[in-house]
Symmetry: D2
Subunit: 381 residues, 4 copies
């Protein structure tokens, strides 16, 4: 694996690295960790990389690695830069024969995202998007339960993602992440929707198998002087007639990373909280509430949840493990393909460029709906 | 106290009676428990009332009680009938000099509610509406905390009221309450908004001190053949610029009575759940999360929470105790006024006809907004 | 009902009154609220009792009430005094033909308790002890589940009752309850075991149907100058071979009233927490955890839980409702017997003098074991 | 790192490997994964190790690695075998100049443990014991809080470790771990105390800084035909006069891995649950309950908690991250020493051979106390 971005002190770069190595399937072999070559070198050194595999730019990395003999060069590129710098390295990597795993949202805007999809499709290479919350075992269990029809036809979906970290003007301090999140040049047209609204949208569509067909959004740029939304509340309509609510916020003071989802069908409902990710609460009509639990020894779990659990129940697995599930699946798929084999279907369970397209469309539809006087805005790609 | 409605088997009638007597301040002395005189008699007998104080209609009750000598006759009327039968007995009681405590929502429609308000205002009598959730000590603590400015300017309010009891067509079984809740002739123009949406609206406005100024609603009549909404999702804008979400549902399968509210200000946020009512979760920026707890021995609580708590912390108080707080306050206010005294301000803390007017307006605005293509519907009374 | 003790400001007196009247089956008609006649009068006046039914002593009350005509006089006596004053009024009441409901523990010591039992047995009257925690619907559900064999043979029981209210020397302030709880003359030979250890013992034996056969106790009088234990940790052995732990404390700083029990059988386990009393957590081997919930609409509940629930699920019932279940059952049993009928078996489900005997024996065995160098102390009555 | 034990399918071996690599500081370079050379080879292949670094026995591994040039050979040995095979490889590794990180409990018995300590002390090498629960940030926060005196003098400690996985006779199925845990030849004199009782003891002493001075144990071998305890209940006395309870069980049916601790001092108490490890509940007398939370952005946390947290609050960290903290600290200490530098004190925060000695002594004292008729058994080493 070669990494683009994620130099020292970058939150998400470190997360990707830990997630990548956890299962012993991936090794970091090179990187262009910063557009500042000095910083890139320093980061590479801290990561124990040989100097000649630490590059000053992603262009250099892709070029030089391509020139290395097969077996020595990196197998794929991991992109962990701010939003506006996702597509350029992804494009170049794919065009040079490297598979890609990329942080979300997929692109700076939808147009760019669509261009990238074309390149991915043409390339025949493997592309993964780190919508990491779908990596949690209990999210997969919930998805499979809904798919099996256990809850009946879905009627209502509530997905909520309150955070409070931008309650004050963090971008005026030295909080690097805050700075680019609220900067239209780097983040795109949205802060809250782009960062966490897409996670909520992705989680809702992933778990229910439904697609948002219409929405009605109210986005607000709370915080003196901010140009991008830091809060958004959205009514949803899904393609099967289900109704829904999505809200995401960076100014919900005191909240940590409280992503949660509630799905209600004709026969039962379920509930999942990212901050207590090892429990899936299931309520069937007329039965006691049930709590399904992550754990390699929980024989009642479905095949998919089991395939994404590492340890026995009661030893909590967390955010990094879910993230690692994406990396592990991507790596195993890639390995099979590189060996000319059909990947195990369990390993194909990772978010792709198509999820990325829907995510970018969600951002653009939400922003457009918020500006519109029309009540219902058709979800268009 | 004389009761209108609430015969044997009626859920809410029994609740009112338990709430009324809990504090030893109120005695049930007569009632017209059913429009069916036989049923009324039978109910009265079960309640150990003398036969001559059990009436066949509210008209009879009010007339006969009025003829009794002062000190013997009932002091006030408690109305626990379905929505369409709130205003007629309330009107007649007030016009005959009896104070009234009435179940919510206030009336069958807003027009009727406004007429009632005029009568209340003219009468000089005491009128309480049992928006019982505002009777919880931790709701009052939250309100006082927000009022004090502790959380800073409020930016966002999320209030949710999922129930699942109408997931199936209960009205086709012998569930009496279900039958009238979904019947436009008895419930009015809404089921979910009328029954629980009003509670959510009332709780949000009560705790924050803000008023809803605009809304955008999507109400749906889930359940084959139903005419009234059983689910509603609403975007809110408040008069201070705060944004919000309100959703309430009777088809959130498996949910019990899961009213909950989240309020976020510039300096902190709070959270309260009706199903764990003795905890108020407070999150100030940069401090550990705090949990305030109901309890007569919690010296850190404000005056108002203390005045509505009966026992030491850890002995859970519940729904009936909160309900009883409304009755107790109403009774103490009434007693003071009957004795020509000024009521203690603590006892004036109960919902009035004005809350009822806002509740009825909320229902009508929500239904109108849901039918409208306009995105933002001005909240009008 | 005539009350002994429970004057203004007494915590437990007010609890008993609220519990007694909640269901509309019991009326307070007289009382001897304090050994100080002035205070008794003042309390009676606050409770709206006629002056001639407020007495200066329990002796006076029992005598005078007995002289009243049947139908006018009180039907039974409720005793809510400190421990050393339980038996004298109970004895006199029973000897004069009045049934009795009494706060726990039953007596000042075991000897006195046994004498009382003889009197109760001879009298043929009804005697209830307010071990109120057994009044919770989910406690009854748990008991019935264990009885049915669902959990298999019970192997282990853990019952814990941490409180923190005596962490500091409350008895030196004007905390009336603290004063007598730590005073050997009023409380008997134990503070923590006498007050809350007995609750824990009663709960464990009630739910499991097992009896403690041996114990090994370590009691400590934390708090400068205290003579009675304020903390106790006890190993238990039950008559079926099960093992257990019981600990109860008044110096577990910060704890409210955190009674909780865990029962483990060969096939499954359960867990109940008094501070969240409406949930019963059940874990069967190899199945998702289940949460049974209080609620008049929870059709999966057993007959007994249903008979002690008042309102639909999600409307929390609390401490007073559980307490009221004891009073209601006692009253319905008494009423049936006074009418010469067989009481409904559901109503016979309240703690009796036999529970009181075991409670007193528990206190004496625990104190003796704590003083002994013997490891295992045989539970003797 | 070279690993002894932990072949394919071994729970704890995989855990150690994930924990070791998470932070990018440690690389697995060789191993003797099984006493069966075939199995060892197969495991090594799965782990992408070169064939010549996969050994048939630990003796071979240590010898061969020692012969490799510095910089190429492993830096330390990780031991993840059953209890009876901890000391032999540890001893040999140390005697050949390799530092060691070893799974707990330290040894097969106390005698062996003491011998090992002597060797460690003489060697001047670094030795870590994976009492992984002390790696949790909130455990460190609690320890530092207690040390600072915030809770006042500690009066009571309750530590509980219920598991249910040996409720049935797992050892008769193909559960490898179950087989050796209940086998005296491999596990030593105890199953529950040896496996999890030691964790509980270690956690209690680590957080409070107190030492157990006396104990009174009741251990039971639940499960037909078992020779070792699968359940244990113990009264504790600490060296400062504090009282306590420790119970640990493998037959608490339905429980996962529910290690929890409650510490009460004169001024406040705290509570931590391994299954929700990112929260530390703190209750100071007369203040609202507080919840401290893991998170790199929780500025209120102490230095030590911060140094063991990887990501912002609300992104749950779990069991593997806590485990990884032990490995990371061990590795950083070792690196410093290998470079002739003084290790950062933060990195010295890992369990050592001394913790192991106390753990082994705990097991032997508990078993001896359980067999004894003496009530209080002096904790002896």
């Amino acid at each position: 694996m070669g990494m683009v971005g994620g130099g020292i002190g970058a939150f998400i770069g470190a997360v990707h690295r830990m997630a990548a190595v956890l299962d012993g399937q991936i090794e970091l072999v090179c990187g262009a960790f910063s557009s500042n070559p000095e910083k890139s070198k320093a980061s590479g050194a801290e990561l124990y990389l040989p100097e000649d595999r630490v590059y000053g730019s992603f262009e250099e990395m892709i070029q030089k690695e391509k020139e290395l003999p097969e077996g020595e060069r990196m197998d794929f590129v991991s992109i962990v830069t701010p939003n506006h710098l996702h597509v350029p390295p992804a494009k170049m990597a794919l065009e040079n024969g490297f598979s890609v795993i990329c942080d979300k949202p997929l692109a700076y805007n939808l147009k760019e995202a669509k261009e990238l999809k074309e390149i991915v499709d043409k390339s025949g290479l493997t592309f993964a998007l780190t919508h990491n919350y779908t990596g949690y075992p209990m999210v997969k269990e919930g998805r499979d339960m809904i798919k099996s029809g256990k809850l009946g036809k879905i009627r209502k979906v509530v997905v909520e993602y309150p955070q409070g970290w931008l309650s004050t003007l963090q971008e005026n301090s030295d909080n690097k992440q805050a700075s680019w999140r609220v900067d239209p040049k780097k983040a795109g047209i949205s802060s809250a929707m782009g960062d966490i609204g897409t996670h909520a949208e992705n989680l809702a569509e992933f778990m229910t198998g439904l697609k948002i067909s219409e929405l009605c959004a109210d986005l607000t740029a709370f915080g003196e002087g901010r140009q991008l939304d830091t809060d958004g509340n959205i009514l949803l309509r899904f393609d099967n007639g289900a109704r829904g609510v999505l809200h995401a916020s960076q100014i919900s003071a005191g909240e940590e990373n409280n992503l949660k989802i509630f799905v209600y069908g004709e026969k039962g409902g379920l509930e999942w909280h990212q901050m207590e990710p090892n429990s899936l609460i299931v309520r069937m009509l007329d039965l006691p509430m049930q709590v399904y639990r992550t754990g390699a020894d929980r024989a009642y779990l479905g095949k998919s949840a089991m395939a994404h659990t590492r340890i026995p129940a009661g030893h909590p697995e967390g955010y990094l493990e879910a993230f690692a599930n994406i990396y592990r699946n991507f790596a195993m798929t890639l390995r099979a393909r590189m060996e000319g084999k059909e990947p195990d279907p369990q390993y194909l369970d990772f978010p792709t460029v198509d999820d990325g397209i829907r995510g970018m469309a969600f951002i653009e539809n939400a922003v457009a709906s918020s500006k519109s006087d029309e009540k219902w805005y058709k979800f268009t790609i």
